[in-house]
Symmetry: C2
Subunit: 276 residues, 2 copies
């Protein structure tokens, strides 16, 4: 199988760096979906979003929480969405922020990369340390998948621990340095770095030149195309920029014209990111 | 509904501080279960474990990863196990180490505490910061549930980030101090502190006198009853001590006498912890 960074790189070269976050919030779905059982509504809406955004992005990121909320049926819907995205040619990032140790981490990774979800990549949380990340890496490498480790997140309260200065540099730099080591020679261990901190984005890009960045916080969370510029390498590669609400929910639930608005939002996001 | 800390306290007073971790690893199940479809095997084994350990502990902690590995069917099994544990009178801790922000965190919390899993409490990861923990707290308080935030974990590589010294104290102390603030006045935001670091356990107990501790790493991971002593308040309350493999898998898969061994391991763990 083609290595994960090569597949990612190919998707970005063809479609630009936009990654659409599939965050199907039940209360925001178009009216037509809301008479369906919740998990069906999530699945059908997500599949329609995949079709609508297909011309404008090569990477999609389903958010596990919104599927998990509906239990077994939600998880079945998530599997269908991931499988369909893959068969449509998207590179998939399962945004589940998993984190556990040893054989438990391996079980999560087997779920993500095995027949259960069969995602191309997974977001993971670093707090548990070395033996919480390495089993994910080992599992990912068995079948050419990738990881994105949380380094500096886009949320307003993200600095509470991430910005603490430890032995002369902020915690997120310590995590970033470990990610760079894990990534070395493979290119398959990426970093989540928010669009809402352009200075830190630039600092981290300089510190981890070979690491792929997943940049959330673009669009609805306030990050602009100018803000994310620093995430890219000088050749324009090295980052995917994720927008969820901005692309998936640019409409009110009772808007009959919601599909046109999704297409418009995806087209605009693609164009903005390409003219950065 | 009785507040979460009162229910936990009651369980510990009646049965002692042992918490049995329900980690159903398919390849370790007794031979009799291994001809069943995987999710059925996990469910039936877990339900039998609940019956076997019922006299010896008041708290159980199902590990989400082992259920998630089998997708929708696994999630259905996990729901059954959580529901059964509750109806048998156990206080349940869903060990899923979730962590995300804002409405995504709320979705995970709704899954954990709503009809989907209906757990009494959930483990959460603090790396994403303030707006990653507070939505879990808000959701938990709506229906008298609880949280356990990762502070100092029991795994050998846990110190990689947790032990970094930031502004004069280790990261885990910063997290602990926030947990103490979140917990204040409610008693429902606990801390995960590993049995494998007795000194740090004592240090954290002194720093967070009112916080409930969930102490993993007892038994198979090497923590002893003497090691966990420091986790308790002077009146003997304030901590649950979790053992997974040590109680759930004290046998080889082909051992016809596995049930007796589980009962023996649970009884011994209970006695050891009560004579600490």
């Amino acid at each position: 199988m083609t290595p994960f960074p090569a597949r990612l790189s190919d998707a970005v070269r063809k479609h630009g760096p936009l990654c659409v976050g599939i965050d199907p919030r039940l209360d925001m779905l178009p009216a037509a979906f809301r008479s369906l059982p919740p998990a069906d509504a999530l699945e059908r809406f997500s599949l329609r979003i995949l079709e609508l955004v297909r011309p404008y992005c090569g990477v999609v990121k389903p958010q596990a929480a919104f599927f998990e909320l509906f239990g077994a049926d939600g998880m079945k819907a998530m599997a269908t969405v991931l499988r369909s995205a893959k068969s449509m040619g998207f590179v998939t990032i399962l945004d589940a922020k998993r984190g556990d140790i040893a054989s438990t981490a391996t079980a999560y990774a087997e779920a993500a990369f095995g027949p259960t979800w069969d995602a191309d990549s997974l977001t993971v949380s670093p707090y548990l340390g070395r033996d919480a990340v390495e089993p994910f890496i080992a599992e990912a490498r068995k079948s050419a998948r990738g990881l994105f480790v949380l380094v500096r997140t886009s949320n307003p309260g993200g600095g509470l621990f991430q910005n603490l200065v430890c032995d002369g540099k902020p915690l997120y730099r310590h995590v970033g340095d470990e990610v760079a080591k894990w990534n070395a020679g493979h290119g398959d261990v990426g970093a989540v770095v928010g669009a809402t901190h352009p200075k830190e984005l630039a600092e981290l890009r300089a510190a981890m030149p070979d690491v792929w960045f997943l940049v959330p916080g673009y669009g609805a969370q306030g990050g602009t195309a100018a803000d994310v510029k620093a995430a890219f390498r000088s050749d324009g590669s090295g980052a995917v920029v994720s927008s969820s609400r901005g692309v998936v929910f640019p409409f009110q639930p009772d808007d009959p014209d919601w599909e046109t608005k999704v297409v418009g939002a995806a087209r605009r996001a693609q164009a903005e990111l390409q003219s950065r």
